[in-house]
């Protein structure tokens, strides 16, 4: 699974996700990526999110929308909202990660796996990429 979240100079947000699903999927199994609100969500009132991981858990928690809703309705900061929702997914037995673009400030990621292919670049910060959890 691959994804991107962006904020433009006007403050507009967007999110996108694309995937082949999981190896050996059967019976027309669809994961969270194409489900708006599960693996992909963008709302200029809150944040933009793209997710990757065991899709069924991201669907059941409506992960991407839940993060945005906690920010918009509960006034949580983006990191707290993200960590709370990922902790719910972990408690259910799911694994994976998200990239999050807040309304202002730097984008960030959280993941519960050993690694996550990721990168970011901002108007103020040079491009950086990472794979392992300790970099």
């Amino acid at each position: 699974t691959v994804g991107a979240v962006a904020r433009d100079a006007a403050g507009g947000l967007a999110a996108a996700t694309s995937t082949g699903g999981v190896t050996g999927k059967r019976w027309g199994r669809i994961g969270d990526s194409p489900l708006i609100g599960a693996g992909t969500y963008a709302d200029d009132r809150a944040c933009a999110v793209s997710a990757t991981g065991s899709g069924e858990f991201f669907i059941r928690t409506s992960c991407a929308h839940e993060i945005a809703a906690r920010i918009r309705l509960a006034g949580e900061d983006a990191a707290t909202a993200t960590e709370t929702v990922l902790a719910e997914i972990t408690a259910m037995g799911g694994t994976g990660g998200v990239i999050v673009m807040p309304l202002d400030g730097a984008p960030f990621w959280r993941f519960s796996t050993k690694g996550m292919y990721r990168g970011r670049v901002t108007a103020d910060q040079a491009a950086e990429v990472g794979v392992f959890d300790d970099e």
């Binding site: 994804g3 433009d8 996700t17 082949g20 190896t23 694994t95 993941f111």
Partner: protein, 167 residues
């Protein structure tokens, strides 16, 4: 307000002992450059995320587009979504098999149809009708993905292995 971009290529069991494909970091850097080129010129976030994801869909190191994981029947069945934060317009496709950039097909659904999510053969037909760049299964499928599928199918319960996605 300042522009910003973040990308991912999937989460999984990559460790320093088991780092995954060598070209992944370069592909991530190229995807960032593609999105940055849009944003630095004052372009829209929607164009930036599409540009970045298209690069990653073409990169064989990641589970999307070319290099996607295969279904039990050995088919590259691709899913994608895109969403615009200001209007909350969204487009998505599921189970498409013949489009080079599923994220662009998802955007076409958002901008050229009244729908949000199209699936299967209907979504493939929508791609043809709207002139999206086609891709054959031969182009989408890599030998290592076939090998991965064979390993999985050889397992007694045939259960798929989420961790083995490598993005």
């Amino acid at each position: 307000m300042t522009w910003a971009l973040a990308i991912h290529g999937g989460a999984g069991s990559m460790t320093r002992a088991n780092p995954g494909p060598a070209g992944a970091r370069d592909a991530l850097a190229q995807a960032l450059a593609a999105g940055e080129a849009v944003l630095v010129e004052g372009g829209a976030a929607l164009d930036a995320v599409e540009a970045a994801v298209r690069v990653l869909e073409d990169a064989p190191e990641f589970n999307a587009g070319r290099g996607a994981a295969l279904s039990y029947d050995g088919v590259a069945e691709l899913d994608a979504a895109i969403m615009h934060g200001a209007t909350r317009k969204a487009g998505a496709v599921a189970g498409v098999t013949a489009t080079r950039h599923p994220v662009s097909l998802a955007r076409a659904v958002m901008e050229q149809s009244p729908h949000v999510l199209l699936g299967g053969a209907g979504a493939d037909a929508f791609a043809v009708a709207h002139g999206l760049e086609p891709a054959t299964q031969d182009w989408l499928i890599l030998p290592e993905r076939r090998a991965q599928l064979e390993i999985m199918r050889a397992k007694p319960d045939g259960a798929f292995d989420v961790e083995m996605k490598f993005g």
